[in-house]
Structures are given as C-alpha cells and as structure tokens.
C-alpha cells in the first residue's frame, strides 16, 4: 500500500513522456534518443552523487572527466584501426583535413568486421575509464588540500583549460573542426542498429548505477558517509581520508570517462565546445533535484531533466521564436535548481539511512 503510493508520486513523469510521444512524428526515434541521452546522464549523475552526495567532494569539474573519455575515443578510434582498414597513410598524415574520410573508411571496415568493431568499442570504453580515473587521481591532489570554494574554482578552470587546449591543439581532436568518430555498430543496419546500440549503452549505464549502488550499500558506503559528516573524527577512528577521497574520485571519474566514450560513439563526432562548464551544472541540477545522497534520486533527477529538455526540443519544431529556444530550457533549469535549494533542499527523494543487515532487524524494537 505504502509502496504503491510512493510509485504514484512519480507517475506524472512517465505520463509526461507519453504525452510527448503522442505529439512526435516518430515515437521509436524519440525513445531511442531519450534512452541514449539517459545513459550518459545517468552515469554522470550517479558518479557525481557518489562524489558529492555520499562523500561530500564538490566536484565542479565533472565535464572534464566526461571530456577526457570523449577526447581519447575521438582521437584514437579511427587512427588505431586505419592501418587495419587499409586507409591511405597520406590521409593520416594530414588528419585534421581528412579525418572525415578516414573515419568513414574505418566505419565501412567495421561494417564487415563486427569482431574488430566490438573489440575496439570495448577497448575504447576501457581507455575512457583509465583516462577518467587518471584525471580523477590528478584532481584529487587539489581536492584534498583546498577549501570548497577554491576547489570549485580550480576544477571549473581546469576543465576550461582542457577544452581550450582541445580547441587549439589540432593533433588531439582536430581543433575547432572536431573529429569524426567511426561507428562500431556499423555491422548492424536500420532499426536493429539503433536498438542494439542504445541497449548496450543503457546496459552499461545501469551496470554503473548498480556498481555505485552496491558500493554505497557496503561498509565502504558507510565509511564515505562518515567522512562526509566529519573528516577529523573519521580520521581519528582509523579511516585514511586522503586515500578514500582519491578512490572515490577515481571511481567517479572512471564512470564519467566511460560515459564520455559512449557519447563520442553515439554522437559520431567530438567537438571541444560540446564540453562547456554548463554540462557540469546540468549534472549538478540532476543530483540536487533528485536528492543528493540517494542513487534513486540521481536516476530520477536525470530523468526529470531529460523530460524538460526533450519538451523544449519538441516545442522547437512547433513554434518559431525570435530567439534560440534552448535558452528557455536553461532558464527553467536554473529556476528549478534555485527553487529546489530554497524550498526542498533534500531533493525529490531525500537521503535515507542504509540498513545493511537484515538478520536482527526483525526482532529488534525501536523501528
């Protein structure tokens, strides 16, 4: 009964999506897009929730780790496979100019060799995770030493620095032009292609969600929440706070790196300016709106944001405004964030104590 009512509370969201579907021209396309975007955002919000919601590290540089995964995928995938695919080396020598040609040829190669395509895909995900984790390791240096306000500035600025370098240093992702990323699912066609790709992405996203959930519902989760509550006391009770924060940032950033790799494959191109600080704040909105310190909240927050975002995308088709309608979405986003902070700081789903053991709970008084 109680559970039923709780579910009812979140019914408006699916209903809203159904309403959106009814006015779109291509419902399957709509859901595929929705699910794909949900995969990246779920991974980003759940990892930020691990860092901020559970451990108390205000990671204002989320986009940097996301970008790390995307950049490594964009930069390496085509170049790595090009020799195998028999791409003319002249094209590789002038990659900035010919990257679309190289990418297309590698894609064609992937259409024939599903095995290599999938191995490459897997390799890039792993590389994305490794690059993310390494960036996380680097970020933990200031995260351990600096106060929250200084840390926020450092992380935002470092992310911007990475973006500026990516924009200008051509060998990375071909500078301002952006790089073409071959499609490892090219051996599938039509609807199958989209369904399988999105299915894989959702699968990876929910696995990371389950990983984080398992992590926080363990003694590790209990420890990071204790550190969030009081660092000095946690240290006095034997917790190596420095090491734990580093571990958390590495895990969170690895997840963000994988999300970046997935995004690169999904978008088919990597552009430096896709990784503006606004993306970090979108993820913050999700976590705070959904409820920090609660993975269900992070998942719901991501969904709520997407509902808003998709609505604007659809509205764009039906109305012409003298201004870019995306800005309305950002205004709504900002307002939602401010209002949540002011009137419901605990978010849609507040944090609940985690009960690890079931054995004695039944016969203990005091519930």
């Amino acid at each position: 009964m109680k559970v039923g009512l709780k579910v009812l509370k979140f019914l408006p969201l699916p209903l809203w999506f159904l309403a959106l579907v009814s006015i779109t021209r291509n419902p399957i396309r709509f859901f595929i897009d929705l699910a794909s975007f949900y995969s990246f955002y779920l991974m980003l919000s759940v990892s930020l929730n691990l860092e901020y919601g559970y451990t108390g590290i205000p990671n204002f540089g989320k986009v940097m780790f996301f970008a790390g995964g995307a950049f490594v995928t964009g930069s390496l995938t085509a170049r790595l496979i090009a020799p195998l695919a028999g791409v003319n080396s002249m094209y590789l020598a002038n990659y900035k100019l010919y990257n679309v040609i190289v990418g297309t040829q590698v894609s064609t190669f992937f259409a024939q060799r599903a095995d290599i395509a999938m191995l490459t895909f897997l390799l890039m995900l792993i590389l994305g995770a490794v690059v993310g984790a390494l960036l996380g390791l680097v970020a933990s240096y200031p995260a351990i030493r600096l106060r929250e306000d200084y840390l926020a500035m450092t992380l935002i600025v470092t992310g911007e620095l990475l973006r500026i370098i990516a924009r200008n240093y051509d060998p990375l992702i071909c500078g301002t032009i952006g790089v073409f990323v071959p499609d490892p699912f090219r051996w599938l066609t039509g609807l199958y292609h989209d369904l399988v790709r999105t299915g894989v992405m959702l699968g990876i996203a929910f696995s990371s969600w389950a990983f984080v959930e398992a992590l926080v519902r363990s003694p590790f989760g209990r420890m990071i929440r204790a550190i969030r509550e009081n660092e000095v006391v946690a240290e006095a009770f034997g917790k190596d706070v420095t090491k734990v924060r580093m571990q958390v940032l590495m895990v969170g950033s690895a997840i963000a790196g994988v999300a970046g790799a997935l995004y690169a494959f999904y978008a088919g191109t990597v552009q430096a300016d896709d990784f503006m600080p606004i993306r970090t704040f979108v993820v913050w909105v999700m976590v705070i709106l959904g409820g920090a310190g609660n993975n269900a909240g992070a998942a719901l927050g991501a969904l709520t944001y997407l509902a808003l975002d998709r609505t604007i995308v659809i509205l764009k088709r039906y109305f012409t405004t003298p201004f870019d309608i995306n800005n309305l979405s950002y205004i709504a986003l900002g307002l939602a964030l401010v209002l949540t902070l002011m009137y419901r700081p605990e978010g849609l789903i507040p944090e609940k104590p985690i009960i690890l053991k079931r054995v004695r709970r039944a016969n203990k008084p005091g519930r």
Binding site: D149, M153, T154, V157, R167, N168, F323, L337, V338, P345
Partner: protein
C-alpha cells in the same frame, strides 16, 4: 619587443578586470562564497548601455550611471532573495555556490534571449555588438607626442583611480563605511552595537554589482559584446581576486593588474618567435595564473610575508 600599443591594451584590459575583481571581493567578504553570477553583472551593464545608445543615440558615457544602477540592483536582488535566505538557513558553502551558478545560468540565458530579440529587431543577426556597430560611435584618441592614446583607456584608468579613492575614503572616513568593515569582520558584535548588518551586506552587494556593470559598460568600446562575455570575464576575475587573496580590496587591485597584463603581454610574447603559439590560447593564460596561484599560494599574494622572504633570502 613589447610595443606601446600592447602596454596600452594591457592597461585598458586590466582596468576592466580590476573593476570586476574589486566587486567580487566585496561580495566574497560578506558571505565567503565566490559569486559565479558576478561576470554576468558586467554583461547586463554592457547591454543596458548598448540598448539605450541604440534607442536614443546618446553618447555611451552618459548612460554609465544607469549601467551601475541596473547591475547593482540585480546583484542586490540576488542577495536579498536568494543568498540571504539560504545563508540564514545555514546552507553550506557548496549549496551557496550552486545557487550562484544557477543564477549565472538564468541571467546568461535571459541575456541570450534578449540579445536574439535585439538583433532580430535590428536585422543584423550579428552577435558581437560594439558601440560602433550599434550607432557608429568611434572611440576618440588623445595625442601625446607621437603616441595616440585611446580615450577609453584614459577614462577607464581614471574610473579605477577614482573608485579606488572613493572606496578608500568611504571605508575609512565615513561612519557607514567603517560599520561595513566592522560588520564584515564580526557580524555578531556589530549587530549588538546597533549596526544593521543586513543593510551593510546589501550595500556591499549593490556596489559590487554596480562596479561590474560599470566595467561592462566599457566593454563595447573595444570588445564585441555577447552574452557569453560575462562568463569568460568571470574566470579572469577569479584569477585576479584569488591572486589578491580574495579578502582584500587592495589585493584585488594588484591581482587585477597582474592578471590583465599577464594575459595581454603574455600572449603577445608567446605568439611571437621563438614560441609562435596560436593567439587563441590567450584565454588560457589567466586560467593558468589561477591554477598556479591556488596550488602554490592559495591564500593569495597578500598572504605572503614578503618581509620574511627578503630577510631569509
């Protein structure tokens, strides 16, 4: 070789950053948060002046007070309706920062909407607005011997000098200014003495926003203004204020000039031989300044005990 033009450019740019940094420091002193929406106060100021100049064909300088008032009021409103209620509820620093980021997004997006409408009315579809684009105002120059000094460089330098003087007199010679320093240092004691701490903080936020608006009003003389400009300026301002220690107006002025000169002179050196770096790396310079400051001297230049350094050396 550094030319006179580069030096003058650096001076102009530093003036603008310094005005911003003084304001940022004033708000930081009250609630101890870096206000992420501070950069947008400058853009708001720029658009106020651009709009009035377009509509009434006035000399831009005549509308500067309105830029000050407009941005100041916006900053004041954000304090009264967002930051103050949150800090009264003992929201954490992180929550206050997130709120200021949210306001930043709202203001910037609203400016985008406004700029879109403005340019569609004007049928220019041109985003980088300057006074010249809008009404054909050309910045004047003054001749000193063989050098021509742009008027805006002179006026902005004068503005910084006057504001510094005014702030100094206000904070040390007037009762309200002293009360402001008192309330910032020890709000509890100040309130038991009958000082209205809320009024003091509100004034800080108003002046801070106003100075940013003023800085923004100088922008369209030279720099094509777009709604994104505020965010870019903000990161430079963070660099300047942090370099100055975030807690001292005097430090902010030093930080502003160091950062401004570092950016303009730095890129002019780096883009020439033997480095031959692309000038598009220019925005990276203040970011590097900020990161290096935070990692080496997180409490800023004013925290370094130079006397001791010299004695040791």
């Amino acid at each position: 070789m550094i030319s006179v033009e580069v030096l003058l450019d650096s001076l102009l740019f530093s003036n603008l950053i310094t005005l911003m940094a003084i304001g940022l420091t004033l708000t930081y002193l009250t609630l101890k948060i870096p206000n992420f929406a501070h950069g947008d106060m400058a853009t708001v100021g720029a658009y106020i002046v651009l709009t009035i100049c377009r509509t009434y064909s006035l000399n831009p300088y005549l509308t500067f007070p309105l830029a000050f008032l407009g941005s100041g009021s916006l900053s004041l409103l954000s304090y009264l309706f967002v930051y103050r209620p949150l800090s009264r509820r003992r929201a954490s620093i992180v929550v206050l920062m997130v709120a200021s980021i949210a306001l930043e997004i709202i203001i910037r997006s609203a400016l985008h909407v406004y700029a879109d409408i403005m340019s569609s009315l004007q049928r220019t579809y041109y985003r980088g607005l300057t006074y010249y684009v809008i009404k054909g105002f050309k910045e004047g120059t003054l001749k000193f011997g063989i050098y021509e000094i742009p008027l805006v460089t002179i006026t902005s330098t004068l503005a910084v000098a006057l504001i510094t003087l005014f702030l100094y007199l206000f904070l040390t010679k007037t009762k309200f200014g002293i009360a402001m320093r008192a309330a910032i240092e020890n709000p509890n004691l100040a309130s038991t003495l009958g000082i209205n701490v809320n009024k003091v903080y509100s004034t800080s936020w108003f002046i801070a926003g106003g100075l940013a608006g003023l800085s923004g009003a100088f922008l369209p003389f030279r720099i094509p203004t777009s709604p994104e400009l505020g965010w870019e300026l903000l990161l430079k301002t963070f660099a300047a204020s942090t370099l100055g220690g975030l807690e001292s107006v005097f430090g902010a002025i030093i930080g502003g000039y160091v950062t401004g000169f570092a950016e303009i002179m730095g890129i002019s050196i780096l883009s020439g031989p033997p480095f031959n770096l692309s000038t598009s790396y220019r925005p990276a310079i203040p970011l590097v300044v900020l990161i290096v400051t935070l990692l080496l001297v997180p409490r800023g230049l004013t925290s370094i005990n130079f006397g001791r350094l010299i004695r040791r050396g």
